[in-house]
C-alpha cells in the first residue's frame, strides 16, 4: 500500500505528463493542418503530370524504344524498397504499420528467391528494420534537418534512387508510405515507381503534338515524375504522421485523465482509512481506561 505522500507525488507527475501530451496533441493538430494544406497544394501538379504521363505512355509504352524507367530493365530480380517513415516517435502505430508491411513484402520477395535492398527515408524506420533486416540496407536519407517538406527534398531522394537505378543496382523500386485518410485512419501503402506504373485508358494521346518528340519528352518527364511521386508520398506521410501523433496524444491525454481520477480516489480512500484508524485507536484507547 503506497503512502499518502507517494500517491500525491504520483498524481502530480501524471498531471504533468497530461499537460505534455495535451500540448503535443495541439501542436500536432496545427502541424496537421499545414501538412494537409501542403498536400492539397501539391495535387494540381501531380494530377497534370499523371495525365500527361498517361497520354505519353499510352502512345510510346508499347514500342521497343521506350525508356527503361517506363519499360523496366526486363528483369525483376533485385527489388529496392524505399521505406518512408518519420524522424520522431510518439506517433502511435504510424511507423510500425509501415515497417510491418515492408517486412512482409521483403520476406515474400526473399522467399521467391529475389534480392531485396532497402533504402530508408526517416530515422524511425531504419531503427526498427535494422535489427532483422540491417544486412539488406543500402542507404539512408536523413530528414532530421528538414524543417518543411519541400520539393527539393523529394528531388534529393529521387536523385539517390535514380543514381542507383542507372548504376544497375536494382530492377524494381517500390515506395512505402502511409496514405492519409483521416486523423484516425492512415493506410500503409506500397507503390511501385520503377518501372513507372501509369493509369491506362488515356484517350487524349492522339490529339497532341509533341515538341520535341514523344520519346524525348518522356525521357525528360520520367525522372520528374519519380520526384513528383516521391514528393506526394512524403507529403501524405507528413500529414499521416501528424494525424497519427494527434490521435495517439489524444489517447494518452485521456488515459492520463483516467489515471488521475483513479489515483485521486485511491488517495482519498487511504486518507479516510488513516483518519478512521486514528479514531479507532483513540476510542479504543479511551475505552481501555
Amino acid at each position: 500500500m503506497p503512502s499518502l505522500k507517494d500517491l500525491k507525488n504520483r498524481i502530480g507527475s501524471v498531471k504533468n505528463t497530461r499537460k505534455i501530451t495535451k500540448a503535443m496533441q495541439m501542436v500536432a493538430a496545427a502541424k496537421l493542418r499545414r501538412a494537409q494544406e501542403a498536400a492539397e497544394a501539391a495535387r494540381p501538379y501531380a494530377e497534370r503530370m499523371n495525365a500527361v504521363m498517361a497520354a505519353l505512355a499510352g502512345s510510346v509504352g508499347g514500342s521497343d524504344g521506350a525508356p527503361r524507367l517506363l519499360a523496366g530493365t526486363g528483369a525483376e530480380q533485385t527489388h529496392l524498397l524505399v521505406v518512408m517513415t518519420s524522424e520522431r516517435g510518439l506517433c502511435g502505430g504510424f511507423n510500425s504499420t509501415i515497417v510491418r508491411l515492408v517486412r512482409a513484402r521483403a520476406n515474400e520477395l526473399i522467399r521467391q528467391g529475389r534480392t531485396v535492398k532497402i533504402l530508408t527515408v526517416g530515422k524511425k524506420g531504419r531503427e526498427q528494420l535494422r535489427r532483422d533486416m540491417g544486412h539488406l540496407m543500402v542507404g539512408h536519407v536523413d530528414l532530421s534537418e528538414v524543417k518543411r517538406m519541400g520539393y527539393d527534398t523529394a528531388q534529393k531522394v529521387a536523385r539517390d534512387v535514380l543514381d542507383r537505378f542507372d548504376a544497375g543496382e536494382f530492377d524494381v523500386a517500390t515506395i512505402f508510405y502511409n496514405r492519409f485518410q483521416s486523423v484516425i485512419v492512415q493506410i500503409p501503402t506500397a507503390h511501385q515507381v520503377i518501372p513507372a506504373k501509369v493509369a491506362e485508358g488515356a484517350d487524349v494521346s492522339a490529339v497532341y503534338d509533341y515538341e520535341p518528340g514523344e520519346e524525348a519528352i518522356l525521357a525528360e518527364l520520367l525522372p520528374r515524375n519519380l520526384a513528383t511521386q516521391i514528393f506526394a508520398a512524403l507529403l501524405e506521410n507528413g500529414a499521416s504522421e501528424q494525424g497519427a501523433r494527434m490521435s495517439a496524444m489524444d489517447n494518452a491525454t485521456r488515459n492520463a485523465g483516467d489515471m488521475i481520477n483513479k489515483l485521486t480516489i485511491q488517495y482519498n480512500r487511504s486518507r479516510q482509512a488513516s483518519i478512521t484508524k486514528e479514531l479507532i485507536e483513540i476510542i479504543s484507547g479511551a475505552e481501555a481506561l
Partner: protein, 133 residues
C-alpha cells in the same frame, strides 16, 4: 470581350498563377512560341527562360527553369519545377539557379550528349541577361 484562354502555372508545391490570358509566350525547348486561343493541342518541354502572360489587365512575366507546357485550344498549363515572378528573382536566387544548372551539367548522365547540358547553361545565362542580372 476578347477570346481568352485559361492559363495555369503550377509548381510541385503550389499553384502559382491561374488567370484568363489573351496570349502566353512560352520558352519552348525548341524555340519560343506563343499560345493564343484556339491553339492546336501541343505538349512541349521548356528551357530556362521568361514566360510572359498577357491578360486584359496587363502582362506578367515569370521566370521558369524547366518543366513542360500543355497547350489546348482553351487552356495552357505550365508545369514548372521552379517558377517565380520575374520581379522576385534577385541576384542571389539567380546565382542559385545558375549554380544548380551548372552542377547538373557537370554531372550530366553519361550517354546524354554533352551539348545538351551546355545548352542548358547557355540558356540559363541568356535568361540572366534577359532579366537584367
Amino acid at each position: 470581350m476578347a477570346d481568352t484562354i485559361q492559363f495555369d502555372l503550377v509548381s510541385p508545391e503550389r499553384r502559382l498563377a491561374s488567370v484568363q490570358a489573351l496570349e502566353v509566350r512560352i520558352p519552348g525547348a525548341e524555340g519560343d512560341l506563343t499560345a493564343m486561343p484556339g491553339h492546336a493541342p501541343l505538349i512541349t518541354t521548356l528551357r530556362p527562360g521568361v514566360l510572359t502572360v498577357v491578360s486584359e489587365t496587363g502582362s506578367a512575366e515569370y521566370t521558369v527553369t524547366g518543366g513542360f507546357a500543355e497547350i489546348n485550344a482553351g487552356s495552357v498549363t505550365v508545369l514548372a519545377e521552379r517558377g517565380l515572378p520575374s520581379a522576385e528573382v534577385s541576384p542571389a536566387i539567380y546565382a542559385e539557379m545558375l549554380a544548380e544548372i551548372r552542377a547538373a551539367a557537370a554531372v550530366a548522365a553519361p550517354g546524354s550528349p554533352a551539348d545538351t547540358a551546355a545548352k542548358l547553361v547557355a540558356d540559363m545565362e541568356a535568361l540572366g541577361a534577359q532579366i537584367g542580372q
